[in-house]
Amino acid sequence: MDRKDIIRKSLIGVAGLVVMTVAGISFYQHRHYKEEVVISDQVQVKKLADYFPELSGSVNDCNIYMVEGSEPGATIMVLAGSHPEEPAGRLAGWILVEQAKMQKGRLIVVLSTNRSGTTVTRPSGAYPQLYTIPTAWGGQKFRMGDRWTNPLDQWPDPEVYIHYPSRQNLAYMDIRNLNRAWPGRANGTLTERTTFAFMNLIKQEKVDVVIDLHEAELQYPVINTIVTHEKGQDLATMASMTLTDFEGFSIGTEFSPVNLHGLSHREIGDNSDAISLLLEAPEPFLDATRGITGEKQLLEGKDAFVVKAGKHGLLYAPIDENGWPIATRVGRHTSTVLQILQSWNEFHPEKEIVCEGVPKYKELIEKGVGAFLIDPKTVDKGKVIFE
Protein backbone atom coordinates (compact mmCIF):
# COMPACT_ATOMS: atom_id res chain seq x y z
CA MET A 1 0.00 0.00 0.00
CA ASP A 2 1.57 3.27 -1.08
CA ARG A 3 0.97 6.85 0.11
CA LYS A 4 -1.74 7.43 -2.51
CA ASP A 5 -3.69 4.36 -1.32
CA ILE A 6 -3.51 5.49 2.29
CA ILE A 7 -4.80 8.98 1.47
CA ARG A 8 -7.66 7.60 -0.69
CA LYS A 9 -8.69 5.02 1.92
CA SER A 10 -8.57 7.64 4.66
CA LEU A 11 -10.77 10.05 2.68
CA ILE A 12 -13.36 7.37 1.89
CA GLY A 13 -13.26 6.22 5.52
CA VAL A 14 -13.75 9.74 6.88
CA ALA A 15 -16.64 10.38 4.46
CA GLY A 16 -18.32 7.22 5.74
CA LEU A 17 -17.72 8.27 9.32
CA VAL A 18 -19.31 11.67 8.67
CA VAL A 19 -22.42 10.02 7.18
CA MET A 20 -22.61 7.64 10.15
CA THR A 21 -22.21 10.47 12.67
CA VAL A 22 -24.92 12.63 11.09
CA ALA A 23 -27.32 9.66 10.95
CA GLY A 24 -26.34 8.56 14.45
CA ILE A 25 -26.98 11.98 15.96
CA SER A 26 -30.45 12.17 14.37
CA PHE A 27 -31.34 8.66 15.64
CA TYR A 28 -30.03 9.52 19.11
CA GLN A 29 -31.99 12.79 19.25
CA HIS A 30 -35.20 11.04 18.22
CA ARG A 31 -34.74 8.30 20.79
CA HIS A 32 -34.13 10.82 23.58
CA TYR A 33 -36.59 13.56 22.55
CA LYS A 34 -38.70 14.67 25.53
CA GLU A 35 -42.40 15.14 24.83
CA GLU A 36 -44.16 17.46 27.26
CA VAL A 37 -47.40 16.71 29.06
CA VAL A 38 -49.14 19.32 31.23
CA ILE A 39 -51.00 17.93 34.22
CA SER A 40 -53.67 19.50 36.43
CA ASP A 41 -54.01 19.25 40.22
CA GLN A 42 -56.37 16.32 39.68
CA VAL A 43 -53.64 14.22 38.08
CA GLN A 44 -51.32 11.93 39.98
CA VAL A 45 -48.42 10.40 38.06
CA LYS A 46 -47.24 6.89 38.86
CA LYS A 47 -44.75 4.65 37.07
CA LEU A 48 -45.41 1.24 35.55
CA ALA A 49 -42.62 -0.21 37.70
CA ASP A 50 -44.76 0.62 40.77
CA TYR A 51 -46.69 -2.51 39.73
CA PHE A 52 -43.69 -4.62 38.73
CA PRO A 53 -40.43 -3.32 40.25
CA GLU A 54 -38.24 -5.42 37.90
CA LEU A 55 -39.21 -2.98 35.12
CA SER A 56 -37.69 -0.06 37.01
CA GLY A 57 -35.00 1.80 35.06
CA SER A 58 -35.98 0.16 31.76
CA VAL A 59 -37.13 2.09 28.72
CA ASN A 60 -40.66 0.73 29.19
CA ASP A 61 -41.11 2.06 32.73
CA CYS A 62 -43.69 4.54 31.41
CA ASN A 63 -45.80 7.16 33.19
CA ILE A 64 -49.25 6.24 34.46
CA TYR A 65 -51.58 9.25 34.71
CA MET A 66 -54.34 8.90 37.30
CA VAL A 67 -57.11 11.46 37.01
CA GLU A 68 -59.34 11.07 40.03
CA GLY A 69 -62.70 12.70 40.76
CA SER A 70 -63.89 13.83 44.17
CA GLU A 71 -66.63 11.20 44.23
CA PRO A 72 -65.91 7.46 43.99
CA GLY A 73 -66.97 5.51 40.92
CA ALA A 74 -65.68 3.22 38.21
CA THR A 75 -62.05 3.01 37.09
CA ILE A 76 -61.47 3.17 33.35
CA MET A 77 -58.03 2.83 31.79
CA VAL A 78 -57.07 4.16 28.36
CA LEU A 79 -53.96 2.70 26.72
CA ALA A 80 -52.37 4.86 24.03
CA GLY A 81 -49.18 4.01 22.21
CA SER A 82 -49.48 0.22 22.23
CA HIS A 83 -48.50 0.76 18.59
CA PRO A 84 -46.60 4.05 18.56
CA GLU A 85 -46.84 4.42 14.78
CA GLU A 86 -50.56 5.15 15.28
CA PRO A 87 -50.45 8.78 16.46
CA ALA A 88 -54.19 9.50 16.85
CA GLY A 89 -54.31 7.24 19.90
CA ARG A 90 -51.45 9.02 21.64
CA LEU A 91 -52.83 12.48 20.79
CA ALA A 92 -56.28 11.50 22.11
CA GLY A 93 -54.51 10.31 25.27
CA TRP A 94 -52.69 13.66 25.56
CA ILE A 95 -56.02 15.52 25.36
CA LEU A 96 -57.54 13.22 28.00
CA VAL A 97 -54.65 13.82 30.43
CA GLU A 98 -54.51 17.59 29.87
CA GLN A 99 -58.26 18.33 29.63
CA ALA A 100 -60.20 15.70 31.62
CA LYS A 101 -61.90 16.94 34.76
CA MET A 102 -63.27 13.99 36.66
CA GLN A 103 -66.41 14.45 38.75
CA LYS A 104 -66.91 10.81 39.62
CA GLY A 105 -64.63 7.81 39.32
CA ARG A 106 -61.12 7.53 38.02
CA LEU A 107 -59.53 7.71 34.60
CA ILE A 108 -56.11 6.08 34.16
CA VAL A 109 -54.28 7.10 30.98
CA VAL A 110 -51.07 5.69 29.53
CA LEU A 111 -49.48 7.67 26.67
CA SER A 112 -46.53 5.38 25.92
CA THR A 113 -47.80 1.86 26.54
CA ASN A 114 -44.86 0.47 24.56
CA ARG A 115 -42.43 3.31 25.29
CA SER A 116 -39.58 1.52 23.50
CA GLY A 117 -41.63 1.56 20.29
CA THR A 118 -41.89 5.36 20.49
CA THR A 119 -38.10 5.69 20.20
CA VAL A 120 -37.69 4.22 16.72
CA THR A 121 -39.40 4.38 13.33
CA ARG A 122 -39.79 1.59 10.82
CA PRO A 123 -36.47 0.66 9.16
CA SER A 124 -36.50 1.78 5.50
CA GLY A 125 -39.94 3.33 6.04
CA ALA A 126 -38.70 6.91 5.55
CA TYR A 127 -41.00 8.03 8.35
CA PRO A 128 -40.64 11.48 9.91
CA GLN A 129 -38.92 11.11 13.29
CA LEU A 130 -40.95 13.90 14.87
CA TYR A 131 -44.18 15.58 13.87
CA THR A 132 -45.60 18.94 14.95
CA ILE A 133 -49.19 19.66 15.90
CA PRO A 134 -49.83 23.36 15.20
CA THR A 135 -51.06 25.33 18.21
CA ALA A 136 -51.81 28.99 18.92
CA TRP A 137 -48.54 29.07 20.89
CA GLY A 138 -46.29 27.75 18.13
CA GLY A 139 -46.80 24.01 17.93
CA GLN A 140 -45.99 20.91 19.94
CA LYS A 141 -43.61 18.18 18.78
CA PHE A 142 -44.19 14.45 19.22
CA ARG A 143 -42.09 11.39 18.49
CA MET A 144 -43.29 9.23 15.61
CA GLY A 145 -42.85 5.59 16.57
CA ASP A 146 -42.98 2.06 15.26
CA ARG A 147 -45.42 -0.82 15.63
CA TRP A 148 -42.77 -2.88 17.44
CA THR A 149 -40.45 -2.60 20.41
CA ASN A 150 -37.15 -0.96 19.41
CA PRO A 151 -34.68 -3.71 18.34
CA LEU A 152 -32.10 -1.90 20.50
CA ASP A 153 -34.15 -2.92 23.52
CA GLN A 154 -35.12 -6.44 22.47
CA TRP A 155 -33.19 -8.47 19.93
CA PRO A 156 -32.80 -10.81 18.09
CA ASP A 157 -36.21 -12.14 17.00
CA PRO A 158 -36.81 -15.91 16.82
CA GLU A 159 -37.76 -17.83 13.65
CA VAL A 160 -41.31 -18.19 14.97
CA TYR A 161 -42.85 -16.31 17.87
CA ILE A 162 -44.59 -18.74 20.21
CA HIS A 163 -47.06 -16.76 22.30
CA TYR A 164 -47.12 -17.35 26.06
CA PRO A 165 -49.14 -19.04 27.50
CA SER A 166 -51.30 -20.15 24.53
CA ARG A 167 -48.35 -21.50 22.45
CA GLN A 168 -50.03 -20.02 19.37
CA ASN A 169 -47.51 -19.50 16.56
CA LEU A 170 -47.19 -15.93 15.33
CA ALA A 171 -44.93 -14.07 12.89
CA TYR A 172 -41.35 -13.73 14.14
CA MET A 173 -41.31 -9.91 14.47
CA ASP A 174 -44.53 -9.94 16.50
CA ILE A 175 -42.46 -11.07 19.49
CA ARG A 176 -41.83 -7.30 19.75
CA ASN A 177 -45.49 -6.37 19.12
CA LEU A 178 -46.99 -5.36 22.47
CA ASN A 179 -50.48 -6.12 21.21
CA ARG A 180 -49.44 -9.74 20.62
CA ALA A 181 -47.73 -10.11 24.00
CA TRP A 182 -50.63 -9.97 26.44
CA PRO A 183 -50.91 -11.15 29.21
CA GLY A 184 -47.12 -11.36 29.41
CA ARG A 185 -44.88 -13.01 31.99
CA ALA A 186 -42.46 -11.91 34.68
CA ASN A 187 -39.38 -13.59 33.19
CA GLY A 188 -40.15 -13.02 29.51
CA THR A 189 -38.97 -10.53 26.91
CA LEU A 190 -39.12 -6.79 27.59
CA THR A 191 -42.45 -6.66 25.71
CA GLU A 192 -43.88 -9.55 27.77
CA ARG A 193 -42.63 -8.00 31.03
CA THR A 194 -44.37 -4.76 30.04
CA THR A 195 -47.77 -6.39 29.50
CA PHE A 196 -47.23 -8.43 32.69
CA ALA A 197 -46.76 -5.15 34.60
CA PHE A 198 -49.94 -3.74 33.04
CA MET A 199 -51.87 -6.87 34.09
CA ASN A 200 -50.66 -6.27 37.67
CA LEU A 201 -51.81 -2.65 37.42
CA ILE A 202 -55.25 -3.65 36.07
CA LYS A 203 -55.75 -6.12 38.94
CA GLN A 204 -54.33 -3.93 41.72
CA GLU A 205 -56.21 -0.79 40.70
CA LYS A 206 -59.38 -2.85 40.08
CA VAL A 207 -59.82 -1.42 36.59
CA ASP A 208 -63.37 -1.93 35.27
CA VAL A 209 -62.78 -1.22 31.58
CA VAL A 210 -59.57 -1.07 29.52
CA ILE A 211 -59.74 0.83 26.22
CA ASP A 212 -56.77 0.26 23.89
CA LEU A 213 -56.46 3.01 21.23
CA HIS A 214 -55.25 2.06 17.75
CA GLU A 215 -55.26 3.08 14.11
CA ALA A 216 -55.25 0.81 11.07
CA GLU A 217 -54.51 0.93 7.37
CA LEU A 218 -57.59 1.16 5.18
CA GLN A 219 -56.67 -2.15 3.57
CA TYR A 220 -57.12 -3.89 6.94
CA PRO A 221 -60.62 -5.28 7.56
CA VAL A 222 -60.69 -4.33 11.26
CA ILE A 223 -61.20 -0.58 11.02
CA ASN A 224 -63.58 2.15 12.26
CA THR A 225 -64.73 -0.22 14.92
CA ILE A 226 -64.76 -1.20 18.58
CA VAL A 227 -63.32 -4.67 19.07
CA THR A 228 -64.74 -6.13 22.24
CA HIS A 229 -64.21 -9.05 24.57
CA GLU A 230 -67.45 -10.98 25.14
CA LYS A 231 -67.73 -9.35 28.59
CA GLY A 232 -68.04 -5.96 26.87
CA GLN A 233 -70.47 -6.81 24.08
CA ASP A 234 -73.40 -4.84 25.57
CA LEU A 235 -71.18 -1.86 26.36
CA ALA A 236 -69.51 -1.75 22.93
CA THR A 237 -72.74 -2.28 20.99
CA MET A 238 -74.56 0.40 22.96
CA ALA A 239 -71.66 2.84 22.49
CA SER A 240 -71.31 2.20 18.75
CA MET A 241 -75.07 2.55 18.14
CA THR A 242 -75.26 5.83 20.07
CA LEU A 243 -72.16 7.25 18.34
CA THR A 244 -73.46 6.36 14.88
CA ASP A 245 -76.83 7.95 15.68
CA PHE A 246 -75.72 11.14 17.41
CA GLU A 247 -72.10 12.06 16.64
CA GLY A 248 -72.07 12.14 12.86
CA PHE A 249 -69.65 9.28 12.26
CA SER A 250 -70.21 5.58 11.97
CA ILE A 251 -68.38 3.02 14.06
CA GLY A 252 -69.04 -0.70 14.19
CA THR A 253 -68.56 -3.44 16.73
CA GLU A 254 -66.55 -6.62 16.29
CA PHE A 255 -66.20 -9.48 18.69
CA SER A 256 -62.75 -10.53 19.78
CA PRO A 257 -62.05 -13.99 18.29
CA VAL A 258 -61.73 -16.51 21.13
CA ASN A 259 -58.75 -18.29 19.57
CA LEU A 260 -56.70 -15.27 18.58
CA HIS A 261 -54.20 -14.80 21.38
CA GLY A 262 -51.90 -12.09 22.61
CA LEU A 263 -54.23 -9.17 21.85
CA SER A 264 -55.46 -6.81 24.56
CA HIS A 265 -59.17 -7.29 23.73
CA ARG A 266 -58.77 -11.03 24.28
CA GLU A 267 -56.21 -11.46 27.06
CA ILE A 268 -57.07 -8.59 29.43
CA GLY A 269 -60.69 -9.76 29.48
CA ASP A 270 -59.66 -13.40 29.95
CA ASN A 271 -57.03 -12.77 32.62
CA SER A 272 -58.64 -10.08 34.80
CA ASP A 273 -62.01 -8.78 35.93
CA ALA A 274 -61.79 -5.88 33.47
CA ILE A 275 -63.77 -5.55 30.26
CA SER A 276 -61.35 -5.06 27.36
CA LEU A 277 -62.11 -2.98 24.28
CA LEU A 278 -59.93 -1.87 21.38
CA LEU A 279 -60.69 1.09 19.10
CA GLU A 280 -59.49 1.36 15.50
CA ALA A 281 -59.40 4.66 13.57
CA PRO A 282 -58.26 4.94 9.93
CA GLU A 283 -54.64 5.88 9.18
CA PRO A 284 -53.86 6.00 5.42
CA PHE A 285 -50.18 6.50 6.36
CA LEU A 286 -50.02 2.77 7.16
CA ASP A 287 -51.42 1.54 3.85
CA ALA A 288 -49.01 -0.50 1.75
CA THR A 289 -49.88 1.45 -1.40
CA ARG A 290 -49.43 4.94 0.09
CA GLY A 291 -47.24 7.61 -1.43
CA ILE A 292 -44.62 9.62 0.44
CA THR A 293 -44.59 8.81 4.17
CA GLY A 294 -44.00 12.40 5.23
CA GLU A 295 -45.29 14.48 8.12
CA LYS A 296 -47.92 16.00 5.80
CA GLN A 297 -49.43 12.63 4.96
CA LEU A 298 -49.28 11.59 8.61
CA LEU A 299 -51.27 14.63 9.76
CA GLU A 300 -53.57 15.25 6.79
CA GLY A 301 -54.23 11.63 5.89
CA LYS A 302 -54.46 12.54 2.21
CA ASP A 303 -53.05 10.13 -0.35
CA ALA A 304 -53.86 9.87 -4.05
CA PHE A 305 -52.56 6.28 -4.21
CA VAL A 306 -54.78 5.11 -1.36
CA VAL A 307 -57.75 6.88 -3.02
CA LYS A 308 -56.92 4.94 -6.18
CA ALA A 309 -56.82 1.68 -4.21
CA GLY A 310 -60.31 2.59 -2.99
CA LYS A 311 -61.54 2.99 -6.57
CA HIS A 312 -60.35 -0.58 -7.20
CA GLY A 313 -62.40 -1.78 -4.23
CA LEU A 314 -59.36 -2.73 -2.15
CA LEU A 315 -60.26 -0.78 1.01
CA TYR A 316 -62.39 -1.52 4.05
CA ALA A 317 -62.95 2.17 4.86
CA PRO A 318 -63.90 5.06 2.58
CA ILE A 319 -61.41 7.74 1.54
CA ASP A 320 -61.58 10.68 -0.89
CA GLU A 321 -59.34 13.65 -1.70
CA ASN A 322 -60.15 15.15 1.74
CA GLY A 323 -58.32 12.23 3.37
CA TRP A 324 -58.48 11.35 7.05
CA PRO A 325 -57.06 14.39 8.90
CA ILE A 326 -55.56 13.80 12.34
CA ALA A 327 -58.29 15.86 14.09
CA THR A 328 -60.98 13.56 12.65
CA ARG A 329 -59.10 10.47 13.82
CA VAL A 330 -58.41 11.89 17.29
CA GLY A 331 -62.03 13.05 17.53
CA ARG A 332 -63.29 9.55 16.78
CA HIS A 333 -61.21 8.30 19.70
CA THR A 334 -62.18 10.97 22.26
CA SER A 335 -65.88 10.72 21.37
CA THR A 336 -65.81 6.93 21.53
CA VAL A 337 -64.03 6.92 24.90
CA LEU A 338 -66.56 9.43 26.29
CA GLN A 339 -69.47 7.44 24.89
CA ILE A 340 -68.13 4.24 26.46
CA LEU A 341 -68.11 6.03 29.85
CA GLN A 342 -71.68 7.21 29.21
CA SER A 343 -72.86 3.75 28.20
CA TRP A 344 -71.08 2.26 31.21
CA ASN A 345 -73.13 4.59 33.44
CA GLU A 346 -76.36 3.37 31.87
CA PHE A 347 -75.47 -0.22 32.76
CA HIS A 348 -73.91 0.63 36.18
CA PRO A 349 -75.80 3.54 37.77
CA GLU A 350 -74.44 2.47 41.17
CA LYS A 351 -70.83 2.91 40.00
CA GLU A 352 -70.76 5.85 37.65
CA ILE A 353 -67.83 7.60 36.02
CA VAL A 354 -68.30 11.23 35.02
CA CYS A 355 -65.71 13.11 33.00
CA GLU A 356 -65.94 16.68 31.72
CA GLY A 357 -63.77 19.00 29.65
CA VAL A 358 -62.76 16.55 26.92
CA PRO A 359 -63.63 17.73 23.38
CA LYS A 360 -65.69 15.49 21.15
CA TYR A 361 -65.49 14.66 17.44
CA LYS A 362 -67.19 17.79 16.06
CA GLU A 363 -65.29 20.17 18.32
CA LEU A 364 -61.97 18.60 17.38
CA ILE A 365 -62.68 18.87 13.66
CA GLU A 366 -63.74 22.49 14.13
CA LYS A 367 -60.84 23.66 16.33
CA GLY A 368 -58.08 21.15 15.60
CA VAL A 369 -56.00 19.00 17.96
CA GLY A 370 -53.67 21.88 18.84
CA ALA A 371 -56.50 23.85 20.47
CA PHE A 372 -56.58 21.25 23.26
CA LEU A 373 -52.86 21.01 23.99
CA ILE A 374 -51.63 23.20 26.83
CA ASP A 375 -48.51 25.36 26.44
CA PRO A 376 -45.94 23.92 28.90
CA LYS A 377 -44.32 27.35 29.21
CA THR A 378 -47.47 28.78 30.86
CA VAL A 379 -47.52 26.38 33.82
CA ASP A 380 -45.40 25.58 36.84
CA LYS A 381 -42.35 23.37 36.11
CA GLY A 382 -43.76 20.74 38.46
CA LYS A 383 -46.82 20.42 36.27
CA VAL A 384 -44.85 19.39 33.18
CA ILE A 385 -44.17 15.68 32.79
CA PHE A 386 -41.96 14.15 30.11
CA GLU A 387 -42.84 11.14 28.00
Binding site: M1, D5, R8, K9, I12, G13, A15, G16, V19, M20, A23, G24, F27, Y28, V120, P123, L152, Q154, W155, P156, R185, N187, G188, T189, R193
Partner: protein
Protein backbone atom coordinates in the same frame (compact mmCIF):
# COMPACT_ATOMS: atom_id res chain seq x y z
CA UNK B 1 -34.47 -18.62 32.65
CA UNK B 2 -36.08 -17.19 29.54
CA UNK B 3 -34.81 -13.68 30.27
CA UNK B 4 -31.24 -14.91 30.91
CA UNK B 5 -31.22 -16.92 27.68
CA UNK B 6 -32.43 -13.88 25.72
CA UNK B 7 -29.70 -11.77 27.35
CA UNK B 8 -27.00 -14.27 26.32
CA UNK B 9 -28.29 -14.41 22.72
CA UNK B 10 -28.32 -10.59 22.60
CA UNK B 11 -24.69 -10.40 23.77
CA UNK B 12 -23.66 -13.01 21.18
CA UNK B 13 -25.46 -10.96 18.55
CA UNK B 14 -23.41 -7.86 19.39
CA UNK B 15 -20.20 -9.92 19.44
CA UNK B 16 -21.10 -11.12 15.95
CA UNK B 17 -21.58 -7.52 14.78
CA UNK B 18 -18.23 -6.48 16.25
CA UNK B 19 -16.58 -9.40 14.42
CA UNK B 20 -18.18 -8.36 11.12
CA UNK B 21 -17.08 -4.74 11.65
CA UNK B 22 -13.47 -5.90 12.04
CA UNK B 23 -13.84 -8.11 8.95
CA UNK B 24 -15.27 -5.29 6.81
CA UNK B 25 -12.55 -2.84 7.90
CA UNK B 26 -9.87 -5.48 7.21
CA UNK B 27 -11.25 -6.04 3.68
CA UNK B 28 -11.48 -2.29 3.08
CA UNK B 29 -7.79 -1.93 3.93
CA UNK B 30 -6.78 -4.97 1.86
CA UNK B 31 -8.58 -4.19 -1.39
CA UNK B 32 -6.88 -2.28 -4.21
CA UNK B 33 -10.14 -1.28 -5.93
CA UNK B 34 -11.50 2.15 -4.87
CA UNK B 35 -15.07 1.16 -5.85
CA UNK B 36 -14.90 -1.75 -3.43
CA UNK B 37 -13.54 0.57 -0.74
CA UNK B 38 -16.66 2.74 -1.08
CA UNK B 39 -18.93 -0.32 -0.96
CA UNK B 40 -17.22 -1.59 2.21
CA UNK B 41 -17.66 1.80 3.90
CA UNK B 42 -21.36 1.93 2.95
CA UNK B 43 -21.87 -1.61 4.29
CA UNK B 44 -20.02 -0.67 7.48
CA UNK B 45 -22.36 2.20 8.44
CA UNK B 46 -25.41 0.15 9.62
CA UNK B 47 -23.14 -2.26 11.50
CA UNK B 48 -21.47 0.63 13.36
CA UNK B 49 -24.84 2.27 14.11
CA UNK B 50 -26.00 -1.01 15.65
CA UNK B 51 -22.75 -1.61 17.53
CA UNK B 52 -22.95 1.87 19.09
CA UNK B 53 -26.63 1.20 19.88
CA UNK B 54 -27.85 4.15 17.81
CA UNK B 55 -30.22 2.29 15.47
Amino acid sequence: MNAILTEIISILYYALIAFLVVLIIYNMIKTKDWKKEIVYVIILIPFLLRLFMLK
